[in-house]
């Protein structure tokens, strides 16, 4: 409207500016278009498809019918799903602090420069992460076995009565151990990298003020590590609720301790591919996604609140 009422001569400069800006916008859109298309195709599309699936029910007798939120309502009352979620919550509360604590200690020790053979230790802690989780679970399964495993043989050789690591009392701890073994190195690398970005002047200033290495770690490094720790925590929350490989593999060695609904993901997998209840499985997937989203948000929110 404005441009139309303006005198022709004066417009040209502004007009070219506008068209330049438009060009830029267009170029921007074009640049993100491939990613956006892939995002829509590979992420939004399947999500919408799953959402539609979750609103129907396919039955062996009679046709597929629209059931609205029925799948979600029965999911909320499903004891197997609820138990799996609670189990993962317990796992999260116990295993994640242990793993992140270990990762933090290793990162600080490495950063302090007081370790012998720092490279070897850094590599040693990180290497389990490079082992595929399927292989890791298999390997630990063989270590845990009471009749056939290394721990069992050691126990017999030393005459020690070892508990059953694959029994229903200890299996969650055994899985937690495998996960800790695998992911401590990964988290350590993130934290260690964050420590490398701390400006050297801060350390100098602290040293001038008379801070020793312990004080340096607690008062300077830890607060500065907060964003990285938060990142690790959020990743671990997501990882915990998606626990699948380790229990799925260990099931072969401990079928009585790990039920087919031991973790929410195992349960969803069973529902979709063994029971062929794709609709119900889709509804559970959405609920699980929601739980993970909410928990991640709570963690972030709590961390932010503490800082201010």
């Amino acid at each position: 409207m404005d441009t139309a009422s303006m005198p022709v001569g004066r417009v040209s400069g502004r007009d070219s500016q506008v068209s330049h800006r438009r060009h830029q916008t267009l170029a921007g859109v074009l640049f993100i278009l491939p990613a956006l298309l892939l995002f829509a195709l590979l992420l939004v599309g399947p999500l919408l498809y799953a959402l539609t699936l979750s609103l129907f029910s396919q039955r062996l007798v009679g046709d597929t019918i629209f059931t609205g939120l029925d799948n979600y309502l029965s999911a909320l009352q499903d004891p197997e799903f609820g138990e799996g979620l609670l189990r993962m919550l317990l796992f999260l509360v116990v295993q994640v602090p242990i793993m992140l604590g270990l990762a933090l200690v290793f990162a600080l020790l490495l950063d302090s420069g007081r370790l012998l053979l720092p490279r070897l230790i850094r590599l040693g802690v990180f290497i389990p992460y490079a082992v595929p989780s399927v292989v890791a679970a298999l390997m630990w399964g063989f270590l845990y076995g009471r009749q056939f495993g290394l721990l069992g043989q050691l126990g017999r050789a030393l005459g020690l009565p070892l508990p059953n690591f694959l029994g229903s009392d200890l299996i969650l701890a055994s899985i937690g151990n495998v996960v800790t073994w695998t992911y401590t190195g990964y988290n350590m690398v993130i934290l260690y990298a964050a420590l490398q970005t701390v400006p050297g002047e801060l350390y100098e200033a602290a040293a001038i003020d008379g801070a020793g290495p312990v004080r340096l770690a607690l008062k300077i490094k830890m607060p500065l590590l907060r964003p990285a720790l938060l990142l690790c925590t959020v990743f671990s929350v997501i990882g915990s609720f998606q626990l699948f490989n380790e229990p799925a593999i260990l099931r072969a060695a401990a079928p009585d301790a790990i039920t087919s609904a031991y973790t929410p993901n195992l349960y969803i997998y069973r529902l979709a591919f063994q029971d062929q209840r794709l609709n119900y499985a889709a509804a559970l997937s959405f609920l699980l996604g929601l739980v993970v989203f909410v928990l991640s948000y709570v963690v972030t929110w709590a961390a932010r609140r503490r800082r201010t």
Partner: protein, 434 residues
């Protein structure tokens, strides 16, 4: 015009011909160049398939092994749902046949083979699992009538006679464990509904049935089942019978190292054991299951499978012939029995001296096959499966199995299993009766 006339004629033939497709047509069909896909997990089945290809040089068979048990059915059900990629012929265990019938996934073979003649080839209890309401849904391949394999040496050392009744078995279990604190008379696995259902079958429990298309009879806690639960519960609570999961590394070790003095198993068990517990060769023997009513020998079945043709096949005649030929012709059937050690299902193979008279060195020269043929004759014929057997088998270890594993109340656990199954059946649109 011509085409529709042809269609009318074939339709009339189909309607009025009580007899299966004409033999001459079938023969012509089998001369055409055809490629069949066959999903199976049976080891070395290529030997039998090669014989088939020699008999029908124009038919090529592509063998695919997509996994055994659950992995196999997962993939099969997925391709069937997808509507493409399904094989022509597939391996299916007896208990899953109704679950594929209800989804209309199987080809009714009665249009190729006369039903009465077909049934006569098998013991009644096997025929009744594949021929349902005069439809032939699959060709039986092997079976698993249940018996007991036991360590002769261990029982002798403990001064224990081989138990003939379950009552004797319970007494023997207590006496045996008292003398051997590290060993158990037997093991009842919490993760294996197949064995449990076989024991129910023997005890007269009939947990499943189907009336029409949409009504199921389900009672996993019927009097027979409760009787079996009440028998094992005290033995497991007292700790004189172990409750380790089976087919795990620990269990294999247990079989080989004498942790279990017997294994309640099926006819395929003896050969399986030879591979697992090689070191103990010669110290094992086989016997029938202990009886509930003395003098009335009865057994149940655990395992065994069939070859079925999928309704989606484009080569109906060739696929049906492959399923029949492999399992009914003398040569391949005997080969399955004597080389792959599948326990046979054909009356003719069950009577073949080459099979029956075989002596097994692992069992001290005992004629194991002969014993299991006799056991096969004592399996009751009125046992039925349900079309939701997958769910029943995956849920069993989670409900009933958990109680067994934790040495809890088995009767209550059976009821919990039953309730979960009934609930699932109703969700699937079935009417459920006891």
């Amino acid at each position: 015009m011509r085409r529709s006339l042809f269609a009318v004629v074939t339709l009339c033939c189909a309607l009025f011909a009580p007899h299966p497709a004409r033999a001459a047509d079938l023969k012509a069909e089998l001369q055409k160049p055809t490629e069949l896909t066959f999903w199976t997990w049976v080891p070395n089945i290529d030997k039998e398939v090669k014989l088939f290809e020699q008999a029908y040089p124009n038919i090529k068979v592509k063998l695919v092994n997509v996994g055994q048990g659950a992995a196999h059915y997962q993939k099969l059900r997925t391709v069937l749902k997808a509507g493409q990629g399904a094989p022509d012929v597939t391996q299916i265990e007896f208990q899953y046949i109704p679950s594929f019938v209800i989804t209309r996934s199987l080809l009714d073979l009665s249009s190729f083979f006369p039903v009465e003649q077909f049934k006569k080839k098998y013991p009644d209890w096997i025929a009744s699992q594949v021929v349902i309401d005069n439809h032939i849904w699959a060709v039986p391949q092997d079976s698993g009538p249940m018996g007991m394999v036991y360590r002769k040496d261990l029982l002798e050392k403990a001064g224990i006679q081989v138990p003939k009744t379950w009552k004797e078995f319970a007494d023997a279990a207590r006496a045996y464990h008292q003398k051997n604190p590290d060993s158990y008379l037997t093991n009842i696995p919490p993760n294996d509904p197949g064995q449990w259902i076989g024991l129910l079958w023997q005890a007269g429990s009939r947990p499943f049935g189907q009336k029409g298309k949409d009504t199921l009879r389900i009672d996993l806690a019927d009097p027979g089942a409760m009787k079996v639960a009440a028998f094992w519960e005290p033995l497991i609570k007292e700790g004189v019978v172990s409750n380790d999961p089976d087919f795990t590394d620990a269990w294999y070790q247990g079989l080989a190292s004498g942790r279990y003095a017997s294994w309640l198993t099926a006819a395929w068990g003896p050969v399986f054991l030879q591979g697992t517990a090689k070191k103990t060769s010669g110290s094992w023997a086989c016997a029938p299951l202990p009886e509930w009513d003395e003098g009335k020998p009865t057994s149940g079945n655990w395992g065994g499978s069939t070859n079925a043709v999928l309704a989606t096949t484009k080569h109906k005649a060739a696929a049906a012939e492959l399923a029949r030929w492999l399992n009914q012709e003398t040569d391949p059937a005997l080969m399955f029995a004597t080389q792959q050690f599948l326990f046979p299902v054909n009356n003719s193979t069950l009577a073949d001296p080459a099979f029956v008279e075989q002596e097994a060195p692992f069992y001290g020269g005992q004629k194991v096959n002969k014993l299991f043929v006799e056991i096969s004759n004592t399996v009751p014929r009125d046992f039925q499966w349900s079309p939701i057997q997958d769910f029943i088998y995956t849920n069993g270890p989670d409900t009933f199995g958990q109680a067994l594993s934790k040495k809890g109340d088995l009767g209550a656990a059976l009821k919990a299993w039953d309730a979960a199954v009934v609930n699932y059946a109703k969700q699937q649109g079935f009417k459920v009766t006891k």
